[in-house]
């Protein structure tokens, strides 16, 4: 039984084959949260608000004569939390290939911290290969990423951990470059990090 809703515009609907390589659509997808979603949830494009609001249109009325060769994003792209010295927290975000991308994309996540505080930061995973989303969503089109932060020593105030996407090192790309229409992350910026975690140290 497929519980996936149909996505249509004026009687033209997304071809169900676009989702054929994904796990079965869970009936209770709305119960999944950013923190607790498992693969069967976060690999569904419906988990992402921009697919429901607009993204599905790419699978109905695509751009004639053009192909998507690069594009990715984050959900959520920013988060905030109140922390104290010595505290350790985990936050989750999803790094995904944009709708209508035909090729594989190699991603390496790097970060910097604004402010003078001392933090231990771990990003897991920090390197991965995103699969295409067109003409169908291939598994691994989205990657769940957990950022672990331990506040070692920071005075009260606001700090930002900024995560950006860059190309993987050449030795990794050498293995990935044979994937279909492979490209590296980092070719397009949005003027700020793709993920920003704001810490309010109290």
């Amino acid at each position: 039984m497929d519980f996936r809703p149909r996505h249509c515009i004026e009687n033209k609907c997304v071809d169900s084959r676009a989702f054929s390589m994904l796990p079965p659509y869970p009936r209770n997808i709305k119960s999944a949260t950013i923190e607790n979603a498992t693969e069967e949830y976060y690999l569904q494009p419906e988990f992402y608000p921009t697919f429901l609001s607009d993204g599905f249109r790419s699978y109905i009325n695509n751009s004639g004569g053009f192909e998507g060769f690069s594009g990715y994003g984050t959900y959520p792209s920013s988060d905030g939390i109140v922390v104290r010295n010595g505290e350790e927290i985990n936050k989750t975000f999803y790094f995904f290939a944009s709708w209508y991308v035909r090729g594989y994309q190699g991603v390496r996540l790097v970060y910097n911290i604004t402010g003078d505080g001392e933090f231990d930061v771990k990003i897991n995973p920090d390197m991965f290969l995103l699969a295409p989303t067109y003409p169908w969503f291939e598994k691994n089109w989205s990657q769940k990423v957990i950022i672990n932060v331990k506040v070692r020593n920071a005075s009260k105030g606001f700090y930002s951990i900024n995560v950006d996407a860059v190309a993987p090192p050449p030795e990794i790309e050498a293995n990935w470059s044979n994937y279909k229409l492979y490209s590296s992350a980092g070719s397009f910026g949005v003027g700020e990090p793709f993920y920003r975690l704001t810490l309010e140290v109290q």
Partner: protein, 450 residues
């Protein structure tokens, strides 16, 4: 909500203190109407302390009632104390007894305030203080003097010189501007919640503390309202500015907030509960290229790889191929496939950029260095399907190859896959020596609503 109110009450108690020497409003109200148990009452006799007396016979009991007082108390007043004052005397040796004052409360009726007293020839001013916080009840207060004659030695007569109702109150801080520093609120945004507070001129009071309260906390942004620690004002008027970073768990939810403030008389006020809806921030983009650019025989096609702007090392894959040394408006084509050569008739954009997230972006381009002399590369853009979704679009041709600074081709591109910014490149040559030159072209997206 009951819990929060209790917390505030406790906090107010904790912060309560008195500062001597600071004035509060003091309103002395006198009657404008009266009645007594005799046939008539002359209000002028009891509205000032001038030794003109209104007499009332106790037969065997009687009263005089100040039924209406002048002056009104502001609706936002915080009552510090309230008194009923009566100056009166009785004749002596007539068994005057059980004299007392009382005031009228809408809920509980007449309430004895002070007394009883016996007879006296001297005029007494008796005051009693009582708790009354309902402004409407205070504005309609009645105060009465009651008495009885408890013997048979002729009627006891009470003479009343004046009534007065003294109300000491303060007004809480007032506010004039409430809001946040954003039109749309996304998760992770640092949102400033502001209110301007002031104390009324002439009260002699100062602003003391403010407390921010909101419901943007909890594991799932569902912990209900909680209060921050109190912060102090420094001037009058002053702003209460509280910046909060919106957790991702609040995405899609409505956040409520309000700010409480008090003054040096511990009079509190609060803004109404303000609300805003939080959108879960999504940043994503899509770069499309003409379909005849792929699939490619090797990695250089579509290989627009870059690390950072400083270390970009992508392979040249967009070429301008001129058939003569003097040619204008040539479009680029893909290396290795002359059949993909574009020409002036096609006018096909080289990039088609969609904002697939929910935050607006802007797109700019530059070369890493100027193109060789005799070559010019220009660019322009258009918005598809119409100009309404792209914000500002650089429709006229601008020279990209002559400089190395980013130039916007589109600004404020909205978040919809059906809206695309089409970027077209053009090449001109004029008397250039045949050969091949390599330049890097950078495409930069800026989040334009940041």
């Amino acid at each position: 909500m009951r819990v929060e109110i209790i917390f505030i009450t406790l906090l107010i108690s904790f912060l309560s203190f008195s500062i001597s020497g600071l004035a509060i409003f003091n309103v002395i109200r006198v009657p404008t109407s009266c009645s007594d148990s005799d046939p008539s009452c002359t209000v002028d006799y009891v509205s000032s302390s001038n030794d003109i007396w209104e007499t009332t016979t106790m037969n065997p009991s009687g009263y005089i009632n100040a039924t209406v007082f002048n002056g009104t108390i502001p609706s936002n007043a915080v009552i510090k104390n309230i008194s009923a004052d009566v100056e009166w005397k009785t004749n002596s040796g007539k068994g005057c007894w059980n004299f007392y004052t009382r005031y009228y409360n809408k809920t509980n009726g007449w309430i004895q305030c002070t007394g009883p007293w016996g007879e006296t020839l001297l005029d007494w001013t008796k005051s009693c203080y009582f708790n009354e916080t309902v402004i409407g009840d205070i504005n309609t207060i009645k105060i009465a003097l009651n008495g009885t004659d408890n013997d048979s030695k002729g009627n006891c007569i009470s003479s009343t010189d004046f009534f007065q109702n003294v109300v000491n109150y303060t007004t809480p801080p007032n506010y004039t501007d409430v809001g946040i520093n954003a039109t749309d609120v996304y998760t992770g945004d640092a949102i400033k919640h502001y209110t301007q507070w002031g104390e009324q001129d002439g009260e002699g009071e100062s602003l003391s503390y403010y407390i921010f309260s909101w419901n943007g906390t909890g594991a799932n942004c569902d912990a209900g309202f909680s209060n921050d620690s109190a912060l102090t004002f420094s001037t009058n008027p002053d702003w209460s500015n509280i910046t909060k970073t919106i957790p991702a768990t609040c995405g899609g939810k409505i956040i409520g907030w309000q700010i409480y403030a008090n003054n040096s008389q511990n009079a509190w006020n609060s803004t109404a509960i303000q609300t805003y809806t939080v959108v879960t921030a999504v940043i994503s983009f899509l770069v499309q290229m003409p379909a005849n650019y792929g699939p490619c025989p090797s990695s250089y096609c579509y290989n627009i790889t870059a690390d950072t702007e400083a270390t970009a090392n992508q392979t040249s894959w967009i070429s301008f191929n001129f058939s003569s040394s003097n040619e204008n408006f040539r479009e680029p084509y893909r290396v290795g496939s002359s059949s993909d050569t574009q020409d002036n008739a096609n006018k096909k954009p080289i990039f088609r950029i969609n904002n697939t997230g929910n935050r607006n972006i802007s797109v700019s381009l530059k070369f890493n260095e100027t193109v060789p002399a005799g070559i010019a590369v220009g660019g322009n853009a258009s918005c598809d399907p119409d100009s309404s979704c792209c914000g500002t679009v650089q429709t006229s041709l601008i020279n990209l190859g002559g400089g190395t600074t980013y130039q916007y081709l589109g600004q404020n591109l909205q978040n919809t896959t059906t809206c695309a910014l089409n970027i077209t490149l053009w090449g001109n040559v004029s008397g250039v020596t045949p050969g091949e030159s390599l330049r890097y072209l950078f495409i930069k997206g800026n989040r334009s609503d940041a």
